[in-house]
């Protein structure tokens, strides 16, 4: 009800408003400076925790991710190989026009294989496959006979061509061993994969660095291309689709929240000023939140924004409390209103800040950002209410009646009465609910929960894998030793163990440098092998004479062999000639020389134990980043549970200081029971409890504290009830919508928060000590 303010009050309000204006101007300045450069980060790899990893492991991660991080492979479908190649050429043009790619490869050059052959040719008598070596050692004459059979066969073309430089075809078979196995055809230089009736032509593309709009464009492009029957898969698509779906969710949650706020404010207060004020505090909050995150962290992830869109629903709480108080008949001056609601909302924001602030202590970037985002947003909105509202709303005339007072009265009085009457049955129900829910508690610690890839992308990947494009596993070994030769020897030790696993079918394949590069000693041994078994023994000369090779050629070959006697090739030289997939296995020599051994086709998680057993944790590391992160998730799940308990203790002490420990305890029963009920519900709904659920409950604790505090300390319970109901509505809407998110992380948060505050809301009025005493009736006279 409108009532004139005193001069002193008005001056104070004015002063406060000036402070707010200063604050707001600073915010606008910062926004103008920094907002244009804000780009949401869509890379899922940025969600990975900032772990204190050894630099060696970090380097190996970089090299491994480098291969696939920006690669998208496309398969153009056609009825015949010719058709597929034509379609592929068109597709290549489409991809080029999109300007999203830094590299497009249609013509298959298996990574400088055409230069591979000549670049290692000089060492052809030092490089030998294990198989050939064994064969020559055992029976050199027989070996050569077998090789010569090839010359007689209609397919021995390669051998015949290189007869003079590679008389035993040992170099040719060595080079073949280095090239990737591929069950694909080459048609006019383009790789063709077959799937029954259809032929697919392969294009390999590298995606250029993308901002948010680029990501969305990529997702759209992929959708259009695959709709025509083509295939496309690769890691960048995860981020691209993630960006597209996150944007949808932000619009959904943000949009509905804003509409709900507008409708509620208009319906309840029937005046534009409260709505304008509400929007001001929301905008201030969002600006502060985005800027804080950007300035402190340097990036803001799209997931943070998706979660942050729910901020609209919770920052509005303070506005509600203020304006609901203004509806009271004897609410006094605006400063008086402020003073009435201040204790409540101050404690409220205090507890929320503590809860969200705890997120900043975790090593997960997403959680840190969410924490800072919300703390900043809530603070800015709160400041707006406290500093700006009293001044601006001085002359505001609101209708004197509260709409539907019956509803609040019901919530405040009827509901506790109902509960009191049926208390034994209700307690029993609650006990059964809790027992069944909590007994079923199961936990989930899986990083794949963090971002479930879009089903479209997954389906494409499956299809491409079924066509034979196998991908290497994310687990691998790091081998270290003092010198390159020692490194190769150590790798060979590991190979023995891996060979056994391969024979057992536990892994499909592994890639190690030592399988193809002989150590310096071995290179000499190889040369000696040729010398003793094939040249000095005369087998070479005899066989070639039988073939009617010209004596001049025989002499040339022999001389060339003799000249190559002391040649050796170092690792660095060898690597330079090789395709990048081999080069990425090498981690260079610093204090030690290290290399990576990669695995393909690990059968199941049981095999991971066998693999870990092969490691010795100093020179031979088994790196399983997925398992490591899952371990972290598990650890922090325990930490979150600990925080929950700690939070209760801290709040208990805090409140006791304010309100005496008996009352503090009574207040705390609400959030404790609420969280337990929420936990039981999650379990009964079939969810495994993850770290994110527990942090969600922690946040719900922060918010639900407000309800309990408001009810316990309310001087005017009816207006408080109204405010609580409104804020619950908007918060529940926001978090409920978040619970529909495709991103498991956000869904977990949304669901836990929604359940947590819902139960708190139900339980809050039950402890209001003023309930029975007061019976405010605020109707217009």
């Amino acid at each position: 009800m409108y009532s004139p303010t005193s001069n002193k009050s008005a001056r104070l309000a004015g002063a406060l408003a000036k402070v707010w204006l200063l604050f707001f101007t600073a915010l606008i300045l910062l926004a103008v400076l920094y907002l244009p450069s804000v780009k949401p980060d869509t890379n899922i790899l940025s969600l990975l925790p900032l772990e204190q990893q050894s630099p060696l492991i970090e380097k190996s991660q970089q090299q491994i991710n480098k291969q696939w991080q920006n690669t998208v492979i496309w398969l153009a479908a056609g009825n015949t190989p010719n058709d597929a190649v034509t379609k592929a050429r068109e597709l290549e043009k489409t991809l080029k026009d999109s300007a999203l790619f830094s590299e497009l490869k249609l013509q298959w050059q298996p990574d400088n294989s055409s230069s591979l052959y000549p670049s290692l040719l000089a060492w052809r008598y030092q490089l030998l496959t294990a198989k050939d070596k064994a064969a020559i050692n055992e029976d050199a004459a027989g070996f050569l006979q077998q090789r010569l059979q090839l010359l007689y066969s209609p397919v021995g073309m390669q051998y015949a061509m290189t007869l003079e430089s590679d008389p035993f075809f040992t170099y040719g078979s060595y080079i073949n061993g280095l090239m990737a196995k591929q069950d694909a055809d080459l048609y006019d230089g383009v790789v063709i994969l077959r799937d029954g009736e259809l032929a697919y032509a392969l294009i390999i593309s590298q995606v250029a660095e993308q901002g948010f709009y680029g990501q969305k464009a990529l997702a759209k492009l992929h959708g259009d291309i695959t709709a025509e029957g083509n295939l496309g898969a690769g890691m960048p698509l995860y981020s691209a689709y993630g960006a597209a779906s996150a944007e949808k969710e932000i619009s959904l949650v943000g949009g509905f929240s804003v509409i709900a706020v507008i409708l509620l404010m208009l319906w309840c207060f029937r005046s534009l000023l409260p709505l304008a004020m509400a929007l001001t505090s929301i905008i201030t909050g969002m600006l502060a939140a985005i800027l804080a995150c950007w300035l402190v962290f340097g990036h803001i992830h799209i997931i943070t924004l998706a979660f942050g869109s729910s901020l609209i629903g919770i920052t509005i709480d303070y506005s509600f409390h203020y304006f609901c108080d203004r509806l009271r008949k004897d609410c006094g001056s605006t400063m008086h209103s402020l003073r009435t609601v201040l204790p409540g909302i101050a404690l409220g924001i205090g507890s929320s800040m503590i809860a969200y602030g705890i997120l900043l202590l975790t090593p997960f970037p997403a959680l840190q950002q969410i924490g800072l985002f919300t703390v900043a947003g809530l603070s800015a909105a709160w400041l707006t209410v406290v500093l700006l509202y009293p001044f601006v709303t001085q002359y505001m005339r609101l209708a004197d009646n509260m709409p539907t007072p019956g509803v609040y009265a019901a919530y405040l009085y009827r509901w506790p009465q109902f509960c009191y009457r049926w208390r034994y049955i209700l307690l029993l129900l609650v006990a059964v609910f809790l027992a069944s829910g909590l007994s079923r508690l199961s936990s989930v610690d899986d990083i794949r929960q963090m971002q479930k890839p879009s089903p479209v992308v997954l389906e494409q990947e499956q299809k491409i894998i079924s066509l034979g494009q196998q991908r290497q596993d994310s687990q691998y070994f790091i081998v270290s030793a003092a010198t390159p030769d020692a490194l190769l020897a150590k790798e060979q030790q590991l190979s023995q163990g891996l060979d056994k696993l391969q024979a057992q079918g536990k892994i499909q394949e592994y890639q190690a440098l030592s399988r193809h590069l002989p150590s310096l000693q071995e290179q000499n041994d190889n040369w000696q092998l040729f010398q003793q078994k094939l040249f000095a023994s005369g087998i070479f000369e005899q066989s070639m004479q039988q073939l009617a090779m010209q004596q001049e050629s025989i002499n040339n070959i022999t001389e060339s062999f003799m000249r190559s006697k002391d040649q050796q090739i170092s690792i660095e030289q060898w690597l330079k000639a090789l395709p990048s997939q081999w080069q990425d296995l090498w981690l260079a020599c610093e204090t030690q020389c290290s290399s990576i051994v990669r695995l393909t086709g690990i059968k199941d998680t049981q095999v991971l134990k066998d693999l870990a057993a092969l490691a010795d944790n100093t020179q031979l590391l088994f790196v399983d980043t997925v398992a490591d992160i899952n371990q972290m998730l598990k650890h922090y799940r325990h930490v979150a549970a600990g925080f929950l308990v700690l939070a209760f203790a801290v709040i208990l002490i805090f409140l006791s200081a304010f309100a005496g420990w008996r009352r503090a305890l009574k207040i705390l029963i609400v959030p404790i029971s609420a969280q337990l009920l929420a936990l039981a519900s999650l379990s009964l709904l079939g969810y495994g409890i993850s770290m994110f659920h527990l942090f969600g409950l922690l946040l719900a604790l922060g918010i639900s504290m407000d309800y309990a505090i408001f009810h316990a300390m309310a001087k005017h319970p009816l207006t408080v009830a109204m405010a609580v109901l409104f804020s619950l509505f908007t918060s529940l809407l926001a978090f409920g919508l978040l619970a529909t998110s495709a991103t498991a992380l956000i869904q977990a948060f949304g669901l836990s928060l929604a359940l947590g505050i819902f139960f708190a809301f139900l339980l809050a009025p039950l402890i209001n000590s003023n309930a029975k005493a007061e019976r405010d009736v605020y109707y217009a006279p």
């Binding site: 059979q149 209609p154 397919v155 073939l547």
Partner: protein, 195 residues
């Protein structure tokens, strides 16, 4: 100018149309039995060898399965060429060889339509019974290995001359050709046991 180009194109297209019809006739003429067996004599001319390498033996072409190439002289060995690749050549996973093997399979099966996808085919001679064609690889990658293939025959391919890009030549004569509608188990088994 335009008229000239136009008529040139017309000429070329009509030529290729005629060619296509003629090829179809050859395709029809080539019988594709379930099983084709015979003797072969292969001469391989390799530059640095003074004499050509000569091998003889028997071959079997099973329609839709592959080729069994059994060398008898100068040393016994057996190659099995099928869609899965080449077995019997102790060289391991050799993509180039596998490719050549596939082409050989197609050549011996006499499937002109499939060959047309990989090669440009021109007709050198076409009588009532005898035909001769020349195949030039379409793919530049293939042309690095094979520069030209000459085929001639009647109901079956009787003569094959493969010019390699390096200058080497492989010449094969097929004789004592026998057709059969049924494939004996001993041969069919060779292909099925691999699958």
């Amino acid at each position: 100018m335009r008229a000239f180009i136009g008529s040139l194109l017309l000429l070329l297209s009509s030529y290729s149309l005629a060619d296509a019809a003629a090829l179809q006739a050859i395709d029809k003429q080539l019988s594709k039995p379930a099983l084709l067996q015979g003797d072969f004599e292969q001469s391989k001319h390799i530059r640095i060898l003074a004499r050509p390498l000569i091998s003889t033996g028997r071959f079997s072409v099973v329609r839709d399965q592959g080729v069994v190439w059994a060398i008898e002289q100068p040393m016994a060995s057996q190659l099995i060429i099928s869609a899965q690749g080449i077995e019997g050549a102790d060289i391991g996973d050799n993509r180039a060889m596998g490719y050549i093997g596939k082409i050989l399979n197609q050549l011996l099966s006499g499937d002109i339509a499939v060959l047309e996808q990989q090669f440009t085919i021109t007709i050198q001679q076409q009588d009532e019974s005898v035909w001769a064609i020349t195949l030039l690889p379409r793919s530049s990658l293939l042309a690095k290995a094979i520069s030209q293939i000459d085929l001639s025959g009647r109901q079956h391919i009787q003569h094959l001359l493969l010019h390699e890009a390096s200058g080497d030549k492989t010449e094969v004569n097929f004789t004592a050709l026998e057709e059969s509608d049924s494939v004996p188990d001993s041969i069919a088994h060779v292909f099925t046991h691999k699958q």
